[in-house]
């Protein structure tokens, strides 16, 4: 199963616009990453907070709803956050202009 995960990560990382992929567990620790460790940990901490915030926003608006994805477009990149039960995935890409 781990080989499958590695393979998928490699496949997506090979896409032209993808800067990095980080898989982060519920404690905010990056468990798999294609970026360097310092940056991964930095992203993990900030995205963990944002994930919590987004979850609360959605829960507040409608108790039956859940958030499935969060995309943030910034000047230089686009950061996509996808929460799952035990972990969440963050992908950073440079959108083609």
């Amino acid at each position: 199963m781990s080989a499958e995960v590695e393979e998928m990560l490699k496949r997506f990382q090979a896409l032209k616009n993808v800067v990095g992929i980080i898989v982060i567990d519920n404690d905010g620790i990056p468990i798999k990453t294609t970026l360097d460790n310092t940056l991964s940990v930095h992203y993990a901490a900030t995205m963990q907070t944002l994930r919590e915030k987004a979850r609360q926003v959605v829960l507040d608006l409608d108790g039956t709803n859940e958030f499935t994805a969060l995309r943030m477009r910034t000047l230089y990149h686009e950061v996509m956050l996808c929460p799952k039960d035990d972990y969440f995935i963050v992908v950073i890409q440079k959108p083609c202009e």
């Binding site: 900030t46 987004a54 608006l61 994805a69 477009r73 910034t74 230089y76």
Partner: protein, 97 residues
């Protein structure tokens, strides 16, 4: 100019998937909306909060970067928040499945 804004708002809110559009000022007070007032205020407050958090996180990761758009996909809707200098726009849509 205000007629132009009304016209644009109406045009976008007529799209079949758009549930509502809210224009919120810098103090999180909705200044224009196509939805019912209580819900609008609720969305405005939560969106303001999330936007502030998102913006802060982006700046933390790279101080030269800025958040230009935020999309939150949930089970039932998609919430799009776009910040501008003095206001921000929230659009709620039901993505077609």
């Amino acid at each position: 100019m205000s007629a132009e804004i009304e016209e644009i708002l109406k045009r976008y809110s007529n799209y079949p998937n758009v549930s509502g559009i809210i224009i919120v000022d810098a103090f999180a007070i909705p200044i224009k909306t196509t939805m019912e007032y209580t819900l609008t205020v609720h969305y405005a407050a939560l969106a303001n909060n999330l936007l502030a958090k998102g913006s802060k996180m982006v700046q933390k990761l790279d101080s030269s970067n800025e958040l230009t758009a935020l999309r939150l996909r949930t089970l039932n809707h998609e919430l799009m928040i776009v910040p501008e200098e003095n206001f921000f726009i929230v659009v709620v849509q039901k993505p077609c499945e």
